[in-house]
Symmetry: none
Subunit: 214 residues, 4 copies
DNA sequence: CATGAATGAGTCTTCATTCAT
DNA sequence: AATGAATGAAGACTCATTCAT
């Protein structure tokens, strides 16, 4: 499965970039510190120290501290999320899931793995979303689009076979996402040690299948 | 129902306190600003300005900015939450719900109302929880305690009547909380206008009842 | 003569202001340093050091370094120059000079004294005018207005008596100003020790009277 | 007339120099930027960008930013000014002006043309003279020397014919220079569009002739 | 010669905190 | 109790200068 190495998309985007080794160290250090302490509680001196570079180097490529934040999050929104989503839907299309349980199992497992593989990016996102609702709205819009375009037809298919309740896609998606996030976020926020992803997937799917049955 | 005016518990805790009118204004201003901009992006000068007091007055009672934060959140954790929870359980006990649907409907509705009534406090909490996992752990511990002590017996009762699936209380609670938060949090974070709480309650209960049916 | 204590207008404007003693010290130190080293070569640390205050105090009243500059120069443009000009014209009107020589002698002497009394402010002005032409244009506009409104009628009077050549006021003014500045500016720029103002006045008037005679 | 292309003296000094094309570009860019924004407000990165070279190249020949400044101004003081002055005096000697008016007309016109042709260099000079009196003193000394050696005898000649008032050369020169600068400097500082040099020359000469007549 | 990444001292500015009045 | 001027330790950011390639 291609998606459990999503973290490597960030690493790859670093390699593809024309950033020097030190600039990459700056991004890596920033990622760590933003996730650990939050954007506001991370100073550019902290970043320089952890990256092992001078403070001037931090500002050579990135004009402002906010630019660093965006250099980390923008690829996540503009590339990682859509890319991942793209692979996600491609997988779904090509896989040709025989029933809703198969689809749900794949999707839940995939998203849990994705979320845990990107703990730090996710945490930074959550922090910023809470601090600045603007980003929440941007994400919500993007998610809503993915939903109505990508998921609704998929749901329709299983609603026709009588495997999925006849609620609108937004409502169904909301319950799925809530349940998955209820599992992933505590781990992301509290640095909980790795848990049994397969078992969690089975449990969540068991609950959702019943809750979403007609 | 007593719980939809939980906000007044904060107000009451202000009245009970030995704080002067200006000190109370400081707390109120801090509550607003912390919720709007976050703790880190709120300066003590901001607080003084909004409270209509001098910067010196802010520090007369509260030795540090962090003290203000704790003056807001500690009562919330140590009094408001337990108090609310206490009323919540008292209500449950005295009400004597005839079936699980009644209990779930009450509980979901009550928590939605509580969450929406305390948007600002909730947002501050979420911000701090994400920024500093320590508070998350403290809350998780407290919640876990409430669960095993308060909810598990309650669940047992309906599990015995065959209305509730035989999963452990933590798992059941996690799904319920996730689903409710999936409705409340977007509203809290994005300042979404008021929605139809009763309809949302019905929908959520409909989903949960199926998902949690044996 | 009221105008040879123009420097006290700045001092007076300090006293009238609601600035604390330390804030006034900041302005005084800034005036000295801006004049000595120029705006760009003066750091806010320099200002704090010379004023004997902390760097925070510098920024308590003035939000930016540029604000300090404007706190010094704006009164100069908006009050000192017009005020001085006002007194200048008042003096001229009430004095009722019998001939052009009397007027010119008074004016030249007065402007030399004014310029030398305000060496530092003048130097700051010249520095900024050269660095940023915008201020030059603002001043030129103001000066032009004073000219056509205030001086042209005065010149007309002596042109009618045949004491002053029939050139337009701008041209006449330009020669007078050039000649006076040719005396004052070197002293302002090079910190030349005090010279004999009365003799210089006599010499300049002697030259101008001939040059401007019909 | 050789002197209205004095700018080419700078270009020539660039050609004569052993500087590479890129080094010359650095000097040209510096000239432009120093004149536009001032020395302090021009960064070496600005210079490199406008010159189309790397920052390293800027420092290959010039050890410090100040060196660039001096590479521009020193030739101007040490070569351009004297050279120009040399041509100026040579012209005067060989021309053999029949009367003081002819001399003055030539000199005024020549200096106006010179000043306008070298706006940018002049502006840099004025900026530095105002910011650092040291350069003023150096220039004043040099000018004083040119005066007493070069001009005084010339003046003497016309004082003997009764065309020029019997003041000392410094005083006469000061009035002439002041009046010419009063015309040239505003244009240099404020980027005023080209004006009628010939008319201005006539007017200035008309004024000076009267003012300097015995 | 040329490059441009890297440096670190220094700049302007903010802000939690103190204290004399 | 209340004020608000004062503080100084950071914080973000700039820039002249160096040096390995």
């Amino acid at each position: 499965m291609a998606l459990n190495n999503v973290e490597s998309l960030f690493a790859a985007s670093l390699q593809d970039s024309d950033l020097s080794a030190k600039q990459k160290a700056v991004l890596r250090a920033s990622l760590t510190l933003f996730a650990d302490k939050g954007y506001d509680r991370t100073s550019t001196a902290d970043i320089a120290r952890l990256a092992g570079v001078s403070e001037g180097t931090v500002y050579k490529r990135f004009k402002t501290k906010r630019d660093i934040f965006e250099a980390i999050t923008t690829p996540f929104v503009d590339q990682v999320l859509p890319t991942a989503a793209g692979e996600f839907f491609k997988e779904i299309s090509t896989a040709g899931f025989p029933d809703f349980r198969s689809l749900l199992t794949f999707a839940v497992h995939d998203r849990i793995v994705f979320g845990l593989a990107n703990r730090r990016e996710l945490k930074i996102f959550v922090q910023e979303i809470v601090a600045d609702p603007q980003m929440f709205n941007a994400l919500a819009a993007r998610a809503s689009q993915l939903f109505t375009k990508g998921l609704a037809p998929l749901f329709k298919q299983f609603q026709d076979t009588g495997e999925l309740v006849q609620w609108d896609a937004i409502r169904i998606g909301r319950y799925i996402i809530s349940t998955v996030l209820g599992y992933v976020l505590p781990s992301v926020i509290a640095r909980t040690p790795e848990q049994n992803v397969d078992q969690a997937t089975q449990e969540i799917v068991e609950f959702l299948l019943k809750g979403l049955h007609p």
